[in-house]
Amino acid sequence: MLWGSNARNAHPIFFHHLLKGIDNGAKMYAVDPRRTSSAKFADVWLGLNLGSDVALANGIGREIIAAGLANDDFIKHSSQGFEAYKENVEPYTLEFTSQLTGLPAENIRELAHDYAKAETAQILWTLGITEHHNAVDNVLALCSLALLTGHIGKWGSGLVPLRGQNNVQGGGDMGSLPNKLPGFQNIDDDASRGKFEKVYGVDLNPVPGKHLTLMFEAMERGEIKAAYVLGENPADSEADILHARKLLSGLDLLVVQDIFMTRTAEMADVVLPASVAWAESDGTVTSSERRVQRVRAAVPPPGEARHDVDIMFDLAARMGHDWGTPDPEQLWDELRSLSPMHLGMSWDRLEETGGLQWPCPALDHPGSPFLHGWLYADDLEGREPAPFIPVVHQGPKEELTEEFPLRLTTGRALDSYNTGVQSGGFSSPIRYGDALDMHHADAARLGLSDGDMAKVSSPRGSVEMRIRIDDSLVEGLTFTTFHFPDLVDANVLTSDAWDKKSGTAEFKAASIRVEPLVAAGA
């Protein structure tokens, strides 16, 4: 079940593995408001109404229970809260779910039955699930389906969020989260923090910090006056971008450490040029499947660019802390001594194996190809049973209105990447730039043809965009990428309604109005 993911574009080599499964007889369902290039490989495409994911998941759950297909043994042994879940999904009959999602009841039933009866089944998702104001609810609704059927904690089954950046997993693993230390140890836990304080030789602040969205809110209140931005381009990547730029430019001090002179760097008081981590330095990154792999320097950094670690160590020295000059392997060994799930991953083993998947707690541990095997242990390895967490359908925060009657969603093109700072460097024969894709009937109603320029407005602002007819979209739904902010400031349009649990903005659902622009001289 590929849900809210266009992996064919965004994770092409992962999609090769999925295609191999299809070639070997696996059945694929694609759940996405758009009939994406991934959905075209599916046995069944479920083009649900944008933002009705919880409704569909609850409807599937209800149907599995009603048809007697729930895995009662697994639920009893490994989960808790089933009765409350069952009660919560009871209203989501096939008919009601069909109304909320716009999907034929028969398709929902078929998906529910196939998923429940499959020997092994996976639910894979990306930002179509998580870039919503109720992102965590979406994830919980999918987790409940795995608990209902036992498709979790065993080879070939599971819940698979596909990570979008080469080291976004590793960043979290290393403690780049407001409330965590490396290895997901809680910063407000005295014992965990004490371990780090002992090795680092300083007291650490026990109060969890702020995630990016809260930082911007704190900037707005004047509580954050300085920012040190490393390898991020928030002046292009944030939703409701005009607002974000205003906040960044209002800071007393903005320091940017990056390999590019990004829009954010252009706004900075100080720019620290960094080397390209994956091609000019040694270290590790961690992929979506928790595989820690080595990156290696192939070319020297240009000019004054320096390794991120060198820059940070020099900053520490200016602040009176001598951190020495450890090499990457020594830094890695320190991490291993503090993060039990990395302990078994010696530098030599990473070299020999071509990468190990955490948890890997000992030098003779083979690494972990999948998680949550404990759900099948007689004693659950002493853990609490996995909780069902009931959630209800809400739909997108920003409703369609007469003034803004079209739905806008965003995503990625195959040959480009995020705000384009990296992918803009090569000349792609299949690149078409940021256009507003829409169904031909919507375009016709507006008097627009393929290639025409239009003024596109949301409650936050307006941009000019080229129209591209794309009938893989349903009527009423429009789509754009945001890879070319210098040409089209697409994030002027996006909604900054955000999930209080995850801090992620609802890039996937804005309301817009489209008006033809008459070309000069026409």
């Binding site: 965004a10 994770h11 092409p12 080599i13 992962f14 090769h16 295609l19 070639d23 490989f41 080879w155 596909l162 990570r163 979008g164 950046q165 080469n166 080291n167 976004v168 997993q169 390999i259 590019f260 390209v276 981590a277 994956w278 091609a279 000019e280 990154v285 961690t286 992929s287 979506s288 499947e289 595989r291 792999q293 080595r294 990156v295 290696r296 320097a297 192939a298 070319v299 020297p300 240009p302 071509g354 990468g355 195959l414 040959d415 480009s416 990447y417 700072v421 990296q422 992918s423 803009g424 460097g425 090569f426 000349s427 792609s428 024969p429 299949i430």
Partner: protein, 282 residues
């Protein structure tokens, strides 16, 4: 998850060799330390038996058999160095060499030397004699160098990419690899993953960076080094082999024995490195 492997034992040039069930005669030859010439074979591709250069003599078989596709069976007796085998391999290499420009097919030329193939002993062989197709900035197609091994078609199709942008077209001397209706590559279904280029044994398909350096007579494999690292784009963790010359990346490949990529990449991983050198498309 444990896979129990049954071993199969065959005789190769008089020595017993054991390989797992399902392995090919080629695998057995490799296990026995015997170097076998191959052209259309690829470790990640389904055998298509197009080139016949890997043939061996199998006791009880009327014809020579392609070792790359024939599964090893218990008790097989195989000869790899008989006069018949060597003659057949020599002829294959000679025929290919006579009609095709093998000037950049280093491995093939080594085989030709080993088997004493003399492609130039044929007068006026039929050649394509067409211009190099340069239709974009990422790769070029020079079908004068194509031996029709089919590997690019397999990589573009069922064996990896499932894009099906290219296929065999025509018959006999007119046989060639082509896009649909022979449109230019940018107009075809091609998604520029470069997985076809990665498997090409003759440089008929080559990256534009390599082509340009060769044109400038500055392609120096002896001065190049290869560093394995991880792609900087999405979270899949594809291994990249950065081929560098004069402190610049000149080509990107991926190891075909790594479980993440099996040698394949996408357009971003294969070509999205220019920014490392401060180059921009703008």
């Amino acid at each position: 998850m444990t896979v129990t492997e049954t071993a199969v034992t065959i005789s190769v040039d008089g020595n017993d060799v054991s390989v797992p069930e399902g392995a090919t005669i080629l695998d057995a030859c490799t296990a026995a330390g015997i170097d076998t010439p191959t052209i259309c074979y690829g470790p990640t591709l389904t055998p298509v038996n197009a080139c016949r250069v890997c043939v061996v003599e199998l006791e009880g078989s009327r014809t020579l058999v392609p070792s790359c596709s024939r599964p090893a069976e218990e008790g097989m007796v195989v000869s790899t160095d008989s006069e018949r085998v060597n003659h057949s391999r020599k002829m294959v290499l000679e025929f290919l060499g006579s009609g095709v420009d093998l000037s950049q097919a280093d491995e093939l030329n080594e085989w030709s030397a080993k088997y004493g193939a003399q492609p130039d002993r044929y007068d006026n062989p039929e050649r394509m004699n067409e211009d190099v197709k340069i239709q974009d900035d990422l790769y070029v197609r020079d079908y004068d160098k194509c031996v029709l091994c089919y590997k690019c078609v397999s990589a573009c199709g069922d064996d990896a990419q499932h894009t099906y942008a290219i296929s065999m077209s025509g018959r006999g001397f007119g046989a060639r690899i082509a896009t649909e209706f022979d449109v230019t590559l940018p107009d075809s279904a091609c998604v520029y993953c470069g997985n076809c280029v990665a498997v090409c044994p003759t440089n008929a398909l080559q990256f534009k960076t390599e082509f340009d350096l060769r044109e400038a007579e500055n392609w120096r494999p002896e001065d190049q080094s290869v560093t394995t690292t991880i792609c900087s784009y999405c979270g899949v963790g594809c291994n990249l082999e950065l081929h560098t010359q004069d402190e610049r990346i000149v080509k990107v490949t991926s190891p075909d024995d790594h479980s993440v990529t099996w040698g394949n990449l996408c357009i971003k991983g294969r070509f999205g490195w220019q920014y490392v050198h401060g180059d921009s498309d703008d």
